[in-house]
């Protein structure tokens, strides 16, 4: 039985801050960021946006492309490291707002930047097992980097939603293989009640990101008996512009195979929504019927989930039904000053409301 994505959608906010603006605030050289990390600007959530509203919009677009009754969806899992509540699920709000309640299984997932892909993994398994007809996975975040930290240039807002199903006439991208590679690696963390995460500096590169991403990519390709020449497009988690290109190179992929989903230089790192947005952007642009897409997520802590998808004819029917991610990224946008950005992100100490 073929199981795959039958609906997908992505959303990013309209607000942006440029690398130059952040660099000017802290006395950094913007060229080092732009050339070194390949980060030009990033999305910033409006004051009324959070993981719930981003997940909602991505899910709404996915439902349009799937063309199904929301009440037929058996599960909704939202992966994020910026759920608006410490206790109270994001998924219930999104499911209620989209008319999916009450006969639905709901859970919020967390695993740094991997939580969205993790939700995809479980939704795929639910459908494959026959447990559910449809299941929806969302990766969305409005993550924060500490002021003046390197992560401030990348931590952005956005996300993607995917509905999995087995209706042959509805599958847009069939899941051919899945694989996970996970170890206990303390490369990035945030303790309870801390506002910003801590990271292991250089420890985040080789032993964390590259070890997991490259292993998950190499092993799933081996499992499938495929090389980078047999796979048209590849999506790797994008903490900055440089890492996914280097991971791809290690696996034998050319830059052109990564570019359709390489949204990070203009979007930033949308954490749980990073590799999911890469997949959406690839489906929205370069993917043709019959093409294979490799997707490898990465979550600090640390692990990678990988997938190989095969695109179907249906991509041509659904692609233009809702706004495409590249159009949202390059479309209507408003640039913020650092002061406005600090206000939007709650970085300014204010007196309590009286």
């Amino acid at each position: 039985m073929a199981v795959g994505i039958i609906g997908y959608g992505a959303y990013v906010p309209r607000y942006r801050i440029k690398a130059e603006e952040i660099a000017a605030q802290w006395g950094d050289d913007p060229e080092v960021i732009k050339r070194g990390l390949l980060l030009y600007e990033k999305t910033v959530p409006n004051q009324d946006e959070d993981t719930v509203t981003i997940a909602y919009q991505a899910a709404k677009y996915a439902l349009v492309r799937a063309g199904i009754d929301p009440r037929e969806i058996g599960a909704i899992y939202i992966g994020s490291e910026s759920h608006p509540y410490a206790v109270k699920p994001s998924g219930t709000i999104v499911a209620e707002a989209l008319g999916m309640t009450p006969e639905i299984h709901i859970a919020d997932y967390e695993f740094a930047c991997k939580a969205g892909a993790e939700a995809m993994f479980v939704c795929y398994s639910h459908v494959k097992s026959g447990n559910m007809r449809y299941a929806m996975a969302i990766g969305a975040d409005t993550s924060q980097g500490a002021p003046a930290d390197a992560l401030e240039y990348s931590a952005a807002a956005g996300g993607s939603a995917f509905i999995f199903g087995a209706d042959e006439d509805k599958i847009i991208a069939e899941v051919l293989y899945t694989y996970s590679f996970t170890t206990d690696t303390p490369d990035f963390w945030r303790r309870e009640h801390e506002m910003y995460p801590q990271h292991g500096g250089r420890f985040t590169g080789e032993p964390a990101y590259f070890k997991h991403v490259v292993s998950a990519g190499r092993n799933i390709m081996e499992m499938a008996g495929l090389t980078a020449k047999d796979i048209q497009w590849a999506v790797f988690h994008m903490p900055n512009g440089k890492f996914p290109l280097r991971a791809g190179q290690k696996l034998g992929f050319k830059k052109e195979q990564i570019e359709p989903g390489w949204v990070v230089p203009w979007q930033g790192n949308t954490y749980s929504g990073a590799s999911p947005n890469g997949l959406t952007a690839t489906l929205d642009s370069a993917a043709k019927p019959g093409d294979l897409i490799l997707m490898v997520s990465f979550g600090s802590g640390a692990g990678s989930d990988s997938f190989i998808f095969r695109v179907t004819e249906r991509i041509n029917e659904v692609r233009d039904m809702v706004p495409k991610l590249w159009d949202l990224i390059h479309g209507r946008k408003f640039y913020l000053t650092y002061g406005q950005y600090a206000k939007f992100r709650g970085k300014i100490h204010l007196n309590p409301d009286v």
């Binding site: 607000y15 004051q47 009324d48 946006e49 719930v52 408003f334 409301d353």
Partner: protein, 128 residues
């Protein structure tokens, strides 16, 4: 405590669930028990998420919960397929807010109840 009221109003705030008079076709959000035409025969009706600005005002001295959003516009939006809603205009510069402008309804956080209360979500609009 706003929880009971927010909970009760979720269908209209989350999903634009209103109703429509079967006699004259008028659409209402929030739903009404009796239509101004006198009919009490109304059916459930979900309003459209597309429309245009019928009228608006700029708020420069907002209530406490909205003070860090000032200045912002509140618009009356005429929706495709009938009905109007009054809501905040978001993701839009004030210069773009004009009568007749096409808008889409979006799902947003309207306000949070203090530092520790609930987040109240609902609809706003933004210029397309």
């Amino acid at each position: 405590m706003i929880v009971p009221r927010h909970y009760k109003e979720m269908p209209q705030r989350y999903r634009l669930q209103g109703n429509r008079c079967k006699a004259c076709g008028k659409v209402f959000l929030p739903p009404r028990l009796v239509c101004p035409c006198g009919s009490e025969d109304l059916e459930d009706y979900s309003l459209s998420w597309k429309g245009k600005i019928l009228s608006y005002t700029i708020i420069r001295t907002p209530p406490t919960q909205f003070k860090y959003q000032k200045p912002y516009a509140v618009a009356i939006v005429e929706l495709e397929g009938g009905g109007t809603v009054q809501c905040q205009v978001t993701d839009t510069s004030l210069e773009e807010v004009e009568i007749g402008k096409e808008v889409e309804i979006v799902f947003r956080k309207i306000f949070s109840e203090g530092e520790a209360g609930i987040h109240c979500y609902g609809y706003k609009c933004r210029v397309v």
